[in-house]
């Protein structure tokens, strides 16, 4: 079956507005505005089983349903394009090929939610994606599909771009709201949840790029069709998997939800690079636990990946080969998180550098037996930090201690990294 997200892609240049229209683009928007109530659009999204593609996998329709219908004042939709999770580049690839699915999806979401004014929050470094979106928004306005009185109706919706200046924490939805308001991007405490009190204290929905880009297809072809795209009955839709590390083809692929890890690596990725052997992978961006060779048969779907102790996350698959030191890899990941902590709460701000110090010492041959205990304490107690950054950082560490404890112990007992200069 034809998958919805990459079907308009051209190999070497972005799809044009005319091409997108010709291939059925904006038909879903016209269909919704002329023949569906906002509630019907929301119901279609609920029925489709679409889950947030940014990493948390929360059911999108349910998130929308938390927005109170009766509050006065403006409400907001924000598209989260602050894609800074290491190993993740799917939103960039999508938008560099096609900004229109997102624009159409956002317009549909605004219609469903009663939003007049939406924002796309774009990370630094995604200027090409931002340029595509800027052009796409202008074209959609020109065609009467965005702006005042869309498609001749009395519905008016605007989308603005907000370009950021580079910080991982801005991807956390409440930090993103602070960033958009021009405040320091520390996360806010929940409750109140953004759906009730978010941007400028108004009800706010924050959705990922890929999530919103799926909505036109759901509205056009119906929730049943969307569900049937998945290979397993629990799943729904397709997923963008962006692969990096030790595979032959490092690229972003749209595959049905439920495709197994092994099928991704051996299929579109063309297998392991230079005849290397698979050792482990991080399945969904830096804040997910390692999967090992025994997990190659796991269908890549939110619930099944969670069942084996990791997360589907953002779909950023990072593949490690035999001979690759996972203590060093985890150290690199922790270093990232320690640097990207916003500095608000103690466990994250102070605990991550502590973990980093220990891992660096172990990797350098100065590890001690008691370090394992200290690391485990951090895995447990960093889960009580203010937001999900530090617990996310602990996921690969927990994976290291679960699946590769022997490797860590070998570092300690040999007083050196066993993978270096033997």
């Amino acid at each position: 079956m034809e998958l919805p997200l990459f079907k308009h892609n051209r190999p070497d240049r972005p799809v044009t507005f005319a091409q997108y229209r010709q291939e059925g683009g904006f038909k879903a928007l016209e269909k919704a505005i002329s023949g569906m109530s906002p509630t019907e659009v929301q119901q279609a999204v609920i029925d489709s089983g679409l889950r947030g593609r940014g990493g948390a996998g929360f059911p999108t329709g349910r998130k929308w349903s938390f927005v109170p219908r009766d509050l006065p004042g403006p409400r907001w939709l924000i598209c989260n394009c602050d894609e800074m999770e290491p190993g993740t580049y799917k939103d960039r690839v999508l938008l560099e090929h096609n900004p229109y699915s997102l624009i159409e999806g956002m317009t549909l979401a605004c219609y469903a939610l009663g939003v007049r004014h939406a924002f796309i929050f774009i990370r630094k470094g995604y200027e090409k994606a931002a340029a595509n979106l800027g052009r796409g928004i202008a074209e959609a306005k020109e065609a009467g599909l965005l702006g005042e009185r869309i498609a001749g109706s009395d519905v008016s919706i605007d989308i603005d771009l907000h370009l950021s200046a580079g910080r991982y924490i801005c991807g956390e939805e409440t930090a993103l709201i602070n960033a958009l308001e021009g405040k320091r991007p520390n996360p806010r405490s929940k409750p109140p949840f953004p759906a009730v009190k978010g941007l400028w204290d108004g009800p706010t929905v924050v959705n990922n790029v890929e999530t919103l880009a799926n909505i036109p297809a759901i509205v056009a072809h119906g929730p049943g069709w969307f569900k049937s795209l998945a290979l397993n009955p629990e799943g729904a839709g397709s997923k963008l998997f962006c692969v990096s590390g030790a595979v032959t083809n490092r690229a972003c692929f749209e595959l049905p939800i439920g495709t197994t890890l092994g099928a991704i690596i051996d299929g579109p990725c063309g297998g392991m690079r230079e005849g290397k052997k698979f050792k482990a992978c991080i399945p969904g961006g830096a804040s997910t636990q390692f999967l090992t060779a025994e997990h190659l048969n796991v269908p890549m779907d939110f619930d099944t990946v969670a069942k084996v102790g990791s997360r589907l996350g953002s779909g950023g698959v990072i593949v490690f080969e035999e001979g690759r030191c996972l203590v060093a890899a985890t150290l690199n990941l922790i270093d990232f998180f320690a640097r990207e902590s916003c500095g608000w709460c103690t466990p994250c701000r102070e605990g991550l550098p502590f973990v980093k110090e220990i891992l660096a010492r172990i990797e350098a041959g100065g590890g001690e037996e008691r370090d394992l205990g200290i690391l485990r304490e951090h895995v447990k107690y960093l889960s009580y930090s203010f937001c999900a950054l530090a617990p996310g950082a602990m996921a690969p560490l927990e994976g290291l201690l679960t699946h590769f404890e022997d490797e860590v112990r070998e570092h300690i007992s040999k007083r050196r990294c066993p993978f270096k200069g033997q």
Binding site: A338, S341, T346, P347, R349, P353, F354, E377, Y384, S385
Partner: protein, 478 residues
């Protein structure tokens, strides 16, 4: 009124009380750094962890951010909560310089107390400590950033509570820094509260540095003598010298804070030239002797000129005790003139104001904080009573309409830490339902307040009081 159980003690608290305060109400102190009753909840330090054993919420929770609810069963001594607290202390002590012997906060340091209470005693972190450069923050406050535990209390007070804009937090991750854009004196007239509110020694009182330890001081509950607001203070005295003044909590008056004048302007108390001994014609003597001499001379004067020629001159800035004694003396010397003002219209105005004040229309600072509409008669709030300005700010942030009746609106408005509407006269303030303020008043049944300077004459005072009375009656409406 939620009912819950904390450490096997049944507790009932007003709705909206957090678990930390609920525990405190039955004498259980849950260690905390970022939480402060006067400031918005931050949830940043993660020290106040408790475990919810049963009820609507389960597991480890931060007691500052958790409203007490019916049926909660809370343990403040659960091993997991204790372990988390111990780790929080360990994390905070990773970079703390352990310079307690040379820190002025020593002995009154929350970090010392909770480090002991938290049970962390052995260093496991083997890396280096991070260090910062300090800033010059003026003559009142000494800055020592290396001691910082990043509880964000200072910036939450300085910017959010007091409306200052020249002090805040920069950087991120392990490099957050609390300071100014560049070296220079803090601009807020409430900056001294950073000393009280910092749980450790990042901000210490430069005017009393390295003089004594907390346990050396003599304390006495006191009232600030600098203006008529009457903020509660605790002067700290060592060897007959006033070393520091700190705020003393009084929720009806100043809450937790005082202004910088009240805290730092104490030079005159310790001034060597200040008379410390009674003297007669420049010659030192005993108190009894001096009083006898004074009585004798007054008596001689009256004998020659009559009581009608005697004026007893006080001052509006005289302490309450002094003012009462002066009044007593005037009553005793029947016929003597008692004056407090150089100008009779000022005197008349003050007298009228005092006569019009009664239990119904007198407002405390906490009344002001809860008002829906505030009219400020032509006065320089930051001079007349800076803490009044903070109370008005609190009301304004909560949505109160604030009007400044001013001849020169621009000048008086410049430094106020809140937004207000300047009007030409009290008549322009929508007191009786004309404006939004009036409508809200009636709906919410909350009083409105007027405040004025001592310089108003009798008719102005009467006018203002009448306005206030109209407001009060309006507020008590349907």
């Amino acid at each position: 009124m939620p009912k819950l159980i904390i450490d096997d003690i049944a507790v009932e608290v007003p709705a909206g009380t957090n678990v930390l305060e609920a525990a405190r109400s039955v004498g259980i102190t849950i260690p905390h750094f970022c939480y402060h009753p006067a400031l918005a909840i931050a949830g940043a330090c993660r020290l106040c962890a408790v475990k919810l054993l049963d009820g609507p919420v389960k597991g480890i929770q931060m007691s500052c951010s958790l409203p007490a609810q019916d049926g909660m069963v809370v343990s403040t001594t659960d091993p997991e909560a204790l372990q988390l607290r111990s780790m929080v202390i360990e994390w905070l002590m990773i970079n703390h310089p352990h310079d307690c012997p040379v820190c002025d906060e020593g002995g009154e340091c929350l970090l010392q107390d909770f480090t002991i209470a938290g049970g962390h005693g052995r260093r496991r972190y083997q890396g280096k400590k991070r260090t910062f450069l300090n800033q010059y923050l003026g003559e009142g406050i000494q800055h020592e950033m290396n001691r910082c535990i990043e509880c964000y209390r200072c910036v939450r007070f300085y910017q959010d509570y007091a409306g200052g804009t020249d002090f805040g937090v920069t950087g991120s991750a392990g490099r957050v820094y609390f300071g100014r854009f560049a070296d220079g004196a803090l601009e807020s007239p409430f900056s001294g509260n950073l000393v009280d509110i910092c749980p450790t020694g990042v901000f210490t009182d430069k005017t009393g540095r390295f003089r004594a330890r907390y346990w050396d001081y003599e304390f006495a509950p006191s009232i600030c003598p600098h203006c008529s607001v009457g903020c509660n203070t605790s002067p700290q005295n060592f060897q007959r010298e006033l070393i520091k003044v700190v705020a003393r909590r009084n929720d009806q008056v100043n809450g937790w804070f005082i202004c910088d004048r009240g805290r730092f302007d104490k030079g005159y108390v310790n001034d060597g030239r200040r008379p410390r001994q009674p003297m007669i014609d420049g010659v030192a003597c005993g108190y009894e002797e001096a009083l006898d001499a004074l009585a004798g001379r007054i008596s001689d004067f009256i004998g020659m000129n009559g009581t009608g020629s005697l004026a007893l001159v006080g001052s509006a800035r005289l302490s309450l005790e002094g003012a009462i004694l002066l009044g007593e003396l005037a009553r005793y010397l029947d016929g003597a003139q008692l004056c407090y003002f150089a100008d009779s219209s000022l005197s008349g105005g003050s007298l009228a104001a005092v006569q019009l004040l009664n239990e119904q229309n007198a407002a405390s600072l906490s009344d002001l904080e809860g008002a829906d509409c505030i009219a400020l008669l032509d006065l320089d709030l930051m001079q007349e009573g800076p803490m009044l300005a903070l109370a008005v700010r609190k009301a304004a942030l909560a949505g109160a309409q604030v009007y400044l009746v001013a001849a020169e609106p621009g000048a008086a408005q410049k430094d106020l830490p809140f937004r207000c509407t300047a009007v030409g006269s009290l008549d322009e303030v929508p007191l009786e339902g004309g404006g939004q303020g009036g409508r809200r008043l009636r709906r919410r049944r909350k009083g409105a307040r007027t405040a004025g300077p001592p310089g108003l004459d009798r008719s102005e005072v009467g006018h203002a009081a009448a306005g206030g009375e109209r407001l009060r009656r309006g507020a008590a409406g349907p």
